[in-house]
């Protein structure tokens, strides 16, 4: 075969050898830090430290109440396992000399009502508000939960999974709680996970932990035995995939 016949054939084969789709297996990564100024509200039974009963309700009042949303962007704010994260809608931010204050009211059958004032300031984007509620007529002193022991640092990177959208990944910015797997104790606050990342010194080597987040009115859990200094964990977050 002459050179003139071979060359175009060779060229064509070479060009066609690079036909993998550029976007193959590429996922769209979406952050959840839409609401920047947030407060994690954790309502517990004052006498036991356990999560508030399921029928516990929360109300938001004050001049800026209409600008308060649940962390997933929902206007419907309710407690799940005694927890909810609320925050200012993204177009409203506190000023240096003009913080934004709201009032939170807690009501639960058989318990005294409780209320707390929450203030959003420019210097504090995250805050945890613990609200213990006492049973009506109870004289039991509130339980004091000791701070968890401190260990070496462990880095956790969480990826939110959308069960119905495998082409999308979530980078959650949420408050995360933990407890030892199998323990009957209440979940304790681990920290704020910023864009999926958290470094903590509250995890003991060779222990297995349950991690819990509350987002969009649902709780999501994952567990992991701690044997090294960093882990990548995947957690289902269907409430973050509704777009």
């Amino acid at each position: 075969m002459s050179t003139a016949r071979i060359t175009p054939l060779v060229l064509m084969l070479l060009i066609l050898s690079a036909c993998k789709k550029p976007t193959e297996n590429i996922k769209i990564v979406v952050d959840t830090d839409v609401i920047k100024y947030t407060a994690m509200i954790n309502v517990t039974d004052a006498s036991t430290g356990a999560s508030a009963p399921a029928n516990t309700t929360i109300t938001i009042s004050g001049d800026q109440a209409s600008n308060i949303y649940e962390l997933s962007g929902k206007k419907d704010i309710r407690l799940t396992s005694g927890m909810v994260t609320i925050g200012l809608q993204p177009n409203v931010v506190p000023a240096e000399n003009n913080p934004i204050t709201i009032n939170v009211g807690i009501a639960s059958s058989g318990y005294n009502t409780a209320s707390k004032q929450i203030t959003f300031t420019t210097s504090q984007k995250q805050q945890v508000i613990n609200i213990p509620i006492t049973k009506t007529g109870s004289t039991t002193p509130p339980i004091v939960t000791p701070p968890p022991p401190v260990y070496n640092n462990t880095s956790l990177t969480f990826t939110g999974r959308c069960p119905s959208r495998t082409d999308i990944e979530i980078r959650p910015s949420v408050y995360i709680y933990f407890k030892k797997t199998g323990s009957l104790d209440a979940f304790q606050y681990l920290g704020y996970m910023d864009k999926g990342n958290i470094t903590t010194n509250l995890l003991q080597l060779n222990e297995t932990y349950d991690f819990q987040i509350v987002y969009g009115g649902d709780t999501y859990k994952v567990n992991q035995k701690i044997e090294q200094t960093s882990y990548n964990l995947t957690i289902d977050m269907p409430a973050a995939c509704n777009f």
Binding site: T3, A4, T7, P8, L11, L14, I15, S17, A18, K20, K21, P22, T23, E24, N25, I26, K27, I28, V29, V30, D31, T32, D33, V34, Y69, E70, S72, G73, K74, K75, Q89, P90, R165, D167, I168, E169, R171, K195, G196, G216, N242, F243
Partner: protein, 230 residues
């Protein structure tokens, strides 16, 4: 549309006529001949100086550039978006034209290399749907965009063929180049803004997908003017 078709038709007619005129097999030594040529093709537009160094061998040096912009040519599956694509390829090159058979003097094997001063493709993907986050409707700035960039800057060898004589028999001719550059291994990158900032984590996958995109085909029509005979 009709005007473009007519121009294409006339151009093809011109190429056929000129190529027929230039593909007779009578061999004329290339040595000492010189020409300038303008070209148009997949490399964009460019210009070359051609010099015959041996009876069967000519060298050409030149440059090409193609600034390209297009909208909505790129889609990510399952993600409603608009896209803005821009591609910029600027090269300087040196090629050797060799006539392998004197009785087929209109056929040349062409080899050489180019240095791509710029060889870059950029795609900006912008979500086209209103993004509802719970009960909140987010604006474009809050949602952000994703930029995908591929860079092939560097040296690239070239291999191809050319049809029609290297130099015009008289003053002008039209010839055709068919070939390919083999570009350097591309450097791919993904960046994002707003809620899409985290997409930089997809860079390794994008790099892996794009790593074999190194063949840059060249189909080009050359319009030559000979200013010196041997």
């Amino acid at each position: 549309m009709k005007r473009r078709s007519l121009v294409t038709f006339l151009l093809l007619g011109l190429i056929c006529k000129e190529t027929n005129a230039q593909t007779d097999s009578s061999f004329q030594s290339l040595k000492g001949q010189q020409s300038l040529q303008l070209n148009l093709g997949t490399q964009g537009i460019g210009a070359e100086y051609v010099y015959g160094v041996l009876p069967e061998l000519a060298l050409r040096g030149g440059l090409n550039f193609i600034p390209l912009k297009a909208n909505n040519v790129f889609k990510i599956s399952g993600f409603n978006s608009t896209s803005n694509l821009s591609a910029d390829f600027y090269n300087i090159h040196v090629l050797a034209d060799y006539v392998p058979a004197k009785n087929l003097s209109w056929f040349r094997v062409v080899g050489g290399f180019a240095y791509f001063l710029k060889a870059r493709g950029d795609i900006r993907v912008i979500p086209s749907d209103d993004y509802k986050y719970g009960d909140l409707v987010l604006n474009e700035d809050q949602i952000g965009y994703v930029d995908l960039t591929v860079d092939w800057k560097g040296f690239a060898p070239y291999l191809g063929i050319a049809l029609a004589h290297t130099f015009p028999k008289k003053n002008f001719n039209v010839s055709v180049d068919l070939g390919t550059y083999y570009l350097t291994k591309p450097k791919a990158d993904i960046t994002g803004t707003g809620l899409l900032e985290g997409n930089s984590s997809q860079t390794p996958q994008f790099q892996s997908n794009i790593k074999d995109y190194r063949w840059l085909p060249a189909i080009q029509v050359n319009f030559s003017y000979k200013f010196k005979n041997n």
